[in-house]
Amino acid sequence: MRYSYFPGCTLYTKAKKLDDAGRECSLKLGFELDELPDWTCCGATFPLVNDQHMLMSGPTRILADTKDRGDDKLVALCSVCYNVLKRTNHVMLNDEERRAKITDFIERDYHGEVEVLHYLQVLRDEIGFDALKEKVVKPLEGLKVACYYGCLLLRPVKEIGLDRMENPTIFEDFIRALGAEPVDFPFKIECCGAFQTVNSMATATRCSREILSNAVQNGADLVITTCPLCQFNLDDRQPEILKEDPAFTTIPVFYFTQLLAVALGLDSGNLGFERNFINPLELLQEKGLV
């Protein structure tokens, strides 16, 4: 299987490890992520003002490019890109008036033909978690994982429709396929603070602290995410949390593709764990996984 792939800006820089591991795993799992040539910024936020069409011209161009190279499916790994592309496509598919305005402006013929998929969706719906389980060479036995969804992967549910927005389970099902144990994690969809990290770091720190404390309390060894911003907030805010509360138990936070790579037996040297504030290598070594 071959899919058009849209990495997005962060996956070339800060979240390189999300991208690297995702691509390596795809080869192991027998599907090809063919990077879209000349891709541009997805816009990073979906415009909430109804007549703000300019912000949708970028993502529409990306979708039209996918269509023009003959593909009907576009895979994203970053929650933000996925959200913006999927919602833009929803408009292209369902809102004739706005579609006409945008496509006229960028001079492209596009009617929402491309299906936007998240990498997790490919694993669930195209590969199948049962088939994934069979490809696992190092079952992550004994590893307790807190699955953190954030917001953009799920909401708004009418447009995204990946899973239930209040009590999603796709991540847990994925984790079980890898042989690890998902812990009960009531804070799995609570806000990480998102962009508040720029103008009110204290807010992001407080949000992250509540989420991480809940994960620790429920016995998790680590937290996984799909979103570079969530990962940044949850991981990089831990020094501040420690300053405020020395008794705080730190916990590694990394990307689901990195964990997938471990389970598929890929070389841990390439996984980029050294970029994490809390390096999970020690934990994984302790569990005999790397």
């Binding site: 549910v157 009418k158 209040e166």
Partner: protein
């Protein structure tokens, strides 16, 4: 040009004061109408519907021997009946009079353009005349009427309408799915707004039903087939096997202890457990155990031989009252009317996993809380945490759980929850004086007599803590329940602890109602509630004549409203039964035998089940009592073999022709 009309037609144009005459030149209209083919009389008058106006119509019919009349006036909904009666009184068949609507369809919509309005009025008159020319004189149809009623559902709605009808002298058959009648009302501890004892109120009514000479109750039963039509229904009722012989059973309870099966008890909403053989409602009069086949091991083990199969209950019974070989029963009842009192279920808390519904034992639904409050219930009337039996010191009541949430759950308001939650919280406070009752609400809807006062007493005198907002999440932390919510009046987020969470779950139609509605030919709405014919004027009539609605099957409501509706239904049926036969409008479909090919398309399309195939001659027939004259079969018939009487295709093609042919300028 068609051949000259040999009928004598009269046209009466009404001014309706200035309503019509203000925009239509009524003199011109009369002048033009008088020139039309077949018209022997045309006149106008200020108010044709007044007594002198009607007299003009009557006198002219007699004097000129008219055999067709067109009254050009307001909508036929207003005065068609008036004029038809007037025509009938002087010997003209009333179906030979038609209304030409030149008010709503003409003068009111062309108020500033008299020439256009006048031309259009003349056109409408001309078209109506062309219809009248081919109208047939008709007589109303009479239909036999069986004055018996079948009530589907033995909850409070079914009970109240059955009692009313039985007291009026009519025989009633109640079909109840469960082993006893009483419905969900039997699970409720006390009523609002006066804290009346429900088991006493309901108990009296149940007793009255069981002892009433005019009422027959089928428990453990469902409607299997419904045939027939208004006045003449044939209901086939299927009764589950009676494994326990009530004549032999002494209610000793040995079989209950012997049964190896243990399941959550539905009547007690999972607060207690039961075997496959169990007493459905411990406080009901009927204390004969029921054996539920689908739960019983005897019936589950297909592999085992007869000897190996579980027979624990049979062996424990000293009276030989249990027969595992019992067979289901089937009965037929002939009735003239049906009451659909099918009731509701609570939307399952498992649909709200973010509130711990279905996973956290101390998150219960409102009916479970009612079971706790019932002195005959599983906790003896004490509010206790289901997990460990401790007394909860703080209880969080969550209203609108699954209601008013169009994105994910039910868009509608379940109506009863605001009030029963206030009642439950007040009863809890009476029991646990040092406890706190929190109520999460969106709006308080207390819109009936003494309801608002009831809520206010709770807030002001009994210190119920009302928090306006929607709970985001309920989860367990360190053995306690944590609740995330917000106070939208102060704009603050709230995180709080609770010992017990009570979910006022949305009411939804009873499971299986879709299949039943199909059998009954009753339409349902998008949420599967049974639809009434008209929400204001025909609130208890279903889409099928002779099938009436009562209770929560139609829409969520409390006991007060349910009883009102049940009694309205009973009243409606008594009105129907006050006649010896039923009268039906003859404006229905008919079939041309020599054209019908028996393809059956009309049978599929008929929304009323009025078309039936005569298998001997392979011709589709019309059941005159059931047909409503909607015309669906006429449109569907590929051979044009059906016609609506007095609205034939020929008539309508002429009418359309009149409207589409080049209109001559009148003025």
């Amino acid at each position: 040009m068609d051949k000259k009309c040999d009928k004598k037609l009269g046209v009466f144009v009404c001014w309706c004061g200035s309503n019509i005459a203000g925009s239509v030149d009524v003199d011109k209209a009369v002048e033009e109408a008088g020139k039309l083919d077949g018209v022997v009389h045309a006149e106008n008058y200020m108010y044709m519907c007044s007594d002198p106006g009607q007299q003009k119509v009557k006198d002219t019919i007699v004097e000129k021997g008219l055999d067709g009349v067109v009254v050009a006036c307001c909508s036929p909904r207003m005065h068609e009946n008036t004029f038809r009666k007037a025509a009938g009184s002087v010997g003209l068949n009333s179906y030979l009079l038609e209304i030409a609507n030149i008010r709503e369809h003409c003068s009111w919509v062309h108020q500033n353009n008299k020439p256009v309005a006048t031309a259009k009025a003349v056109n409408i008159i001309k078209a109506t005349l062309d219809k009248v020319k081919e109208n047939l004189p008709l007589e109303t149809l009479t239909i036999e009427l069986t004055k018996r009623v079948c009530v589907v559902g033995g909850g409070i709605a079914g009970i109240m309408s059955a009692l009313d009808l039985a007291d009026a002298g009519y025989e009633v058959v109640i079909v109840e799915k469960e082993p006893v009648i009483g419905g969900h009302t039997a699970q409720v501890s006390s009523s609002f707004p006066y804290f009346q004892n429900i088991s006493k109120l309901l108990g009296e009514k149940v007793k009255a039903v069981l002892e009433h000479p005019n009422i027959k109750v089928y428990v453990n039963s469902e409607v299997e087939v419904l045939d027939g039509y208004v006045g003449n229904f044939n209901v086939t009722i299927k009764t589950r096997p009676a494994f326990v012989d009530s004549a032999k059973c002494t209610s000793c309870g040995e079989c209950l202890a012997a049964c190896p099966v243990s399941l959550p008890d539905e009547f007690n909403r999972g607060l207690s457990r039961r075997g496959a053989i169990f007493i459905y409602n411990a406080s009901a009069e009927a204390r004969i155990p029921v054996l539920r086949q689908e739960d019983c091991r005897h019936f589950a083990d297909f592999e085992q031989s007869q000897e190996e199969k579980c027979r624990a209950c049979v062996q424990s019974c000293s009276e030989n009252a249990i027969d595992l070989g019992a067979l289901p029963g089937r009965s037929e009842e002939f009735v003239g009317a049906i009451v659909m009192a099918t009731g509701y279920d609570l939307y399952s808390p498992a649909n709200l996993p973010e509130y711990g519904g279905g996973t956290i034992p101390d998150v219960v639904d409102a009916l479970a809380f009612e079971r706790m409050l019932d002195p005959n219930g599983p906790t003896g009337g004490k509010v206790l945490c289901h997990s460990d039996g401790r007394i909860p010191k703080s209880v969080m009541f969550i209203q609108c759980a699954g209601s008013r949430d169009p994105e994910r759950h039910k868009a509608y308001c379940s109506r009863a929850c605001c009030m029963y939650t206030a009642k439950q919280a007040r009863l809890y406070k009476r029991q646990v004086e040092d406890g706190t009752a929190f109520i999460s609400y969106m709006d308080i809807r207390s819109d009936s007599r003494d309801f608002e006062e009831f809520v206010q007493v709770g807030m002001e005198q009994e210190n119920l803590v009302y928090i306006r907002g929607r709970v985001a999440k309920v989860f367990e932390e360190n053995g306690r329940l944590k609740v995330f919510t917000a106070d939208t009046l102060t704009g603050r987020q709230i995180t709080m602890d609770a010992d017990l969470v009570v979910l006022a779950m949305a009411m939804e139609p009873k499971a299986g109602v879709r299949e039943l509605a199909k059998k009954m030919n009753v339409t349902i709405d998008g949420d599967a509630f049974l639809s009434e014919t008209h929400i204001k004027l025909y609130p208890v009539e279903s889409s099928t004549k002779g099938v009436y609605l009562a209770g929560c099957g139609q829409a969520p409501k409390d006991i007060t409203d349910t009883v009102s509706q049940a009694l309205a239904t009973a009243g409606k049926i008594q009105t129907m039964f006050s006649n010896e036969t039923l009268i039906a409008d003859p404006l229905i479909a008919e079939v041309k035998d020599d054209v019908c090919s028996g393809c059956g398309v009309c049978i599929e399309i008929c929304p009323y089940g009025a078309r039936v195939m005569n298998d001997f001659v392979r011709i589709s027939e019309v059941n005159q009592a059931v047909c409503q004259g909607c015309g669906a079969c006429i449109a569907a018939c590929p051979n044009k073999a059906c016609e609506l009487i007095n609205s034939t295709s020929r008539q309508f093609l002429r009418v359309i022709g009149d409207f589409t042919s080049k209109v001559k300028a009148v003025v």
